[in-house]
Amino acid sequence: MADKLLMIALSPTMEKGTIHTWHVKEGETFSTGDILCDIETDKTTMEYESPEDATLLKILVEEGGQASVGDPIAIFGKKGEDISALLDEIKKEESSKADTKREEKEKESALEKKTDLDIEVKRPESQKAIQPDETTRIKASPLARKIAEERGINLSQLKGSGPQNRIVKRDVENYKPQEKSATTHAPYSEDSDQRIPLSEKRRIIAKRLSESKYSAPHFYLRVQVDMTRLMETRKRYHETHPDAKTSLNAWLIKLSSEALKKHPEVNSGWDTDALIRFGNVHIGLAVAQEDGLITPVVKSVEYKKIAQVDHELQELIEKAKNNKLSPEEYTGATFTISNLGAWGIEEFTAIINPPGSAILALGAIEKKPVVINDEIIIRPMMSMTLSCDHRVIDGATGADFMKTLKAYIEDPALALT
């Protein structure tokens, strides 16, 4: 039975070997202990002793050729044996090895990319390299820093008495906040300012919103909507479904989703060299938290009924308030709604929440006189302001969307059309 002669590790550190000389030629027979070939390892040239009595049928790696430990370098067996099956097998192994290598490489580069991103997002400010600007950097002993932190003293207000103006313990201990002078009764003093270290969340909010506001050219469209029918519809739904208690936000999310289906150009995003037309409608709702805000996202609203939207929304809001949202639950909104109606805000403008290109700011519902058929009538009115990214949405496009949304809210049955 023919078999492969493998490159073996001839030294503990050897990974590859080069065939220096073949002492046996194809077709020649050899016995156990015969020297088959000389192999150059990483250290020296070693003799490859035969492990069997057999005939050398085929040399796979010629003199001067290299092979990794474990790779076949020749085939041996009985004289005249058919070795074509074995050769095919070796070929296959080689190509699958190449594939694995390529895959590994791809995986590696993907991993590298991912890691880059992670670092960009996660690295806290404190781990960034110290600024090399020696003139502005505050030099202080570890102890001085610790005491200053404990006492809430801003080191930049101190003058260091150590070498190179290093702030040391005595400088912190001798520091007295400047007494307010008797002559100036300034109502404002810097000493009463507090420096609150940024939480990671605050940092991210600041970063994301600044990025959005600075990079996306915002424009705003405002319209008043008559809420009479939507409120009636919701009331009827509750009357016919005594157990249901849906929020107005759920209705507005669903109607927005219907309007977005009709205007997919608003359900879009910007990606430097392309516009992204999102395949689903994922609507985020801004939720206030004690220490910031977050926008949990109801996914694929277009496939969900209002009751389901409402149910998911309640769950997400509950999680948001307890800081329990997982990242996939607060990212990927293709459209966002921010509702400050509960605070009595009449109208406001919001900053777009990427990757979406539009955010709808909702004010409070207030009874207002409106003119209908030349008569002044009192109606519950709400102000809606759409902020649009002009790179993606043009004025008329946004206006069309608002017209549709207004129509759906003022007559929810139209949403079925």
Partner: protein
Amino acid sequence: MALITYREALRQALKEEMHRDKNVILLGEEVAQYNGAYKVSKGLLDEFGEERVIDTPITEEGFTGVAIGAAIAGMRPVVEWMTFNFSIQAMDQVFNNAAKMLYMSGGQVNIPIVFRGPNGPAEYLASQHSQALASVYAHFPGLKVVSPATPYDAKGLLKSAIRDDNPVVFMEAELMYAWEGDVPEEEYLIEIGKADLKKEGDDVSIITFGKPLKIVTEAAEILEKRGIHADILDLRSLRPLDEEAILKTVKKTNRAVIVDESWPVASMASYIGWFISHKAFDFLDAPVELVTSEDVPMPYNHTLELAAQPSVDKIVQAVQKVMYIGEA
């Protein structure tokens, strides 16, 4: 209490332990007939006989190895090296046999042995005979290393070292043999691995061991007159190191000066400096200062010889530096 010399304190410890345990033997060059090169073993040959107080040839590696073998066989040998400079000949025995036997035998064979003798520079002995090798021995896991600075500590630690079931390297100093100190009449032991706060003060921690304690004490007196109150921590043991005591004093004073008569590179001082910055970083108000021998072979010229070693003046300077006095 009796005022006795460091030499006498060592002799008392040897004598008491040899009476206490017949397995304790003393061997080394000139320890018997000549009563010891530095007279530490004076009278011991007469008292205990030549089977227990043994003169050896001038072959440090040989008699150190013999003693290690005797320890394996159940004796408790005390090996006197005429100086630690000569112990360099015996290092293979100490590091490869004494330090590792317990570990390599899986805990079956322990080596209850003491290697003792004068370490560090004396005077006019030039570079080959003026070496402070504490960090060399303290480098090796498997050895205990002590370096007492007073007669009281020397006696209590030598008795503990002889009773210890591990190899203990016991570092004395030629100049210290004649120094005097109070030692109690009654028996006492000092635990290996415990530092001793020799003087208390709140301003700065001066950490040292062995012979330099004397100049540290003198420097502290000068500083005291200048209104600077120093903690003086005498480590006494280098391995195990009393880390707790080091952290306690540094956390109190927020600044440390380490005085070590070895060279600065890879020394006990540099190790302790790292240890402090690692474990007490937020308590430091200044970088840790080292006062060590200069990084040169010991000069023979006496003026240079003194200049190459830690001095009272260098210690005072270092303390003022960590206190931010006299510079800004």
